[in-house]
Symmetry: C2
Subunit: 332 residues, 2 copies
DNA sequence: GTGAAAGCGCTAACAC
DNA sequence: GTGTTAGCGCTTTCAC
């Protein structure tokens, strides 16, 4: 039914080897043969079957990216960076969304184990360090955005602790002393690190940490609103809030607005990630930006480097973040 | 290096056929053999090479989804719906972002032509009807969200014309007579249809269409702001604006806000798509929602149905949209 | 410069 | 219930 290399060879009156050579641009094909083969390929509408090719070559030139969520505009930018770089090197990027479900993530990682792809990048994972190390022994994997403690796996991310520090420091520099934190209840490493950075910044500035200024909940928007409501119910209210994600920050801002506060004046709010919405929001949202494109390019570069060699680079690379001040934060 | 079915067979002391039977759950394997094979598989950490399997079976059970952009939260929800449904049927979904670039999209479609995937769903495409028809003759493709006029290809989308009508009608029902439109300059069919629906709604209500109330530009946020600025520079200003996308609506709202207007009172703004941001925005954004999950499920169901048969269903399916009124629109 | 042939890992027909 | 074997479509060695 579908046309194969054999059909092309027969029609062109050459051997399959010659067709293959033309296909792969190998040397030692006469111009006449090459021309003839190419014409036949076009005439027959032939497209090589990559299952055959990849099986034979034992490589697919495809890299899988697994995202924990599809709602995060950050991931789109990262993947865009990956794709551009990968294409240049003759690789393709495909992606899949795990929804942070171990079952789905495992199913997707099967594409790596069953040789459908050459490598995988995880933008957050539910696998343990031990599981990751086990996988990394036999397969090429990398983490991006979100490291896993104890995992000896190639990782590219910002320094979340320092980024959390810088975010809190920016609020302190604006004159704030009563700074609250909206964080999440989960074991996600990056959030914990951002939280640690916040604590260190307060300590450095000689500000005492108050339990009632620290809120833990889910990643959902609702949590940002609840946190803001809680802070505003306190007798001694904070003047600034640092949320470990922009979504939580936006929800907190919305709640403050509904409560009649002017965000940026009555209360300052700082987010994290610099998602698309930050600039559009009313007020625009101050945040910490990650170098998404660069992270995508870099992790792909390193991963592809690993594909060839037995000496895999499994280092942890930190890329530079940047604090961006917009309307949602103001001097006190 | 990597362990194959042969290794398992040798270690277990059975033939590769028996291992294959266990792998595929075919009948006619004694319990003893099955147990032995499974133990050996676990012991050796064997994972079947799908390149071999797929080559032999001439199917991959993988469907590719191509998105024009990665920034559209709609797509994430659609793909989520696809994935859930596909997994139930033993299929996997992978996705790729074309950035509306023909070169990239073509490169991604190669995965279909070279048999790396069984079918492809395009959430918007830069291919012409003719090109699509040509592809559909030999391959399994479907369009979702965004139809192409003249393409006899399986398509699942909302009725954009009616949706545009309903959006404008909702504004009319709120008492508005001076209703402007923010649309895009491109040939994207869905936008033109929404625009046509807007025109029909005005006609039905006996409202004359004014050229200076219709703005065409790019998809970028900037365009929404420019449009609002233009409308507000008119002597006879509109009291409501319908934007054919939520992003444009948000940008228009932001601009109106900056200009000192209270959106929802001084000016009403209606978007389209019901992206995540709509609910969080200040004010929350009225919009038209598409049944994303359902669309994803449905298109996958139909596409998988097509995989088996020579009689392909290439109909155009319309799913129900819904107008959602929030704070950004008000009664005049 | 070109062709014959082996073989990548797997499934499935066929034989027993 | 199990094994033997052909062959999916391709690349690549080896011989000429």
């Amino acid at each position: 039914m579908s046309v194969t290399i054999k059909d092309v060879a027969r029609e062109a009156g050459v051997s399959v080897a010659t067709v293959s050579r033309v296909l792969n641009g190998s040397a030692n094909v006469s111009e006449a043969s090459a021309k003839l083969v190419n014409e036949t390929i076009n005439r027959l509408g032939y497209s090589p079957n990559f299952l055959g090719r990849n099986l034979r070559k034992r490589e697919t030139n495809v890299i899988l990216v697994i995202m924990p969520s599809s709602e995060h505009s950050l991931y789109g930018t990262i993947i865009s960076g990956m794709q551009e770089y990968a294409n240049k090197l003759g690789y393709d990027i495909i992606s899949a969304v795990s929804n942070s479900t171990t079952y789905v993530e495992t199913r997707q990682m099967d594409m790596l184990f069953n040789r459908t792809v050459d490598g995988a990048v995880l933008l957050g994972t539910s696998f343990s360090a031990q599981e990751l190390n086990e996988m990394a022994r036999n397969y090429n994997i990398a983490l991006c955005c979100e490291g896993v403690e104890g995992a000896d796996v190639l990782t590219v991310a910002v320094n979340d602790e320092q980024a959390g520090y810088d975010a809190a420091k920016a609020l302190i520099d604006l004159g704030h002393r009563k700074i609250a934190l909206i964080s999440v209840d989960s074991s996600v490493v990056s959030s914990r690190k951002r939280e640690n950075g916040y604590l260190r910044a307060l300590a450095d500035a000689g500000i005492e940490v108050r339990e009632d200024y620290i809120w833990h909940g889910s990643y959902l928007a609702h949590n940002g609103a609840d946190a803001m409501e809680h802070f505003m119910s306190l007798d001694d209210k904070p003047t600034a809030v640092f949320a470990i994600s922009d979504l939580l920050a936006a929800a907190a801002i919305k709640k403050a607005h509904v409560m009649g506060l002017t965000v940026g004046k009555d209360i300052s709010v700082m987010g994290f990630d610099n998602i698309t919405m930050c600039e559009m929001f009313i007020p625009s949202i101050s945040t910490v930006s990650q170098p998404c494109r660069k992270m995508g390019e870099f992790v792909i570069k390193k991963l592809i480097d690993n594909l060839g060699t037995p000496h895999k680079d499994n280092r942890y690379y930190n890329l530079e973040h940047e604090v961006i001040l917009r309307e949602s934060t103001g001097r006190i």
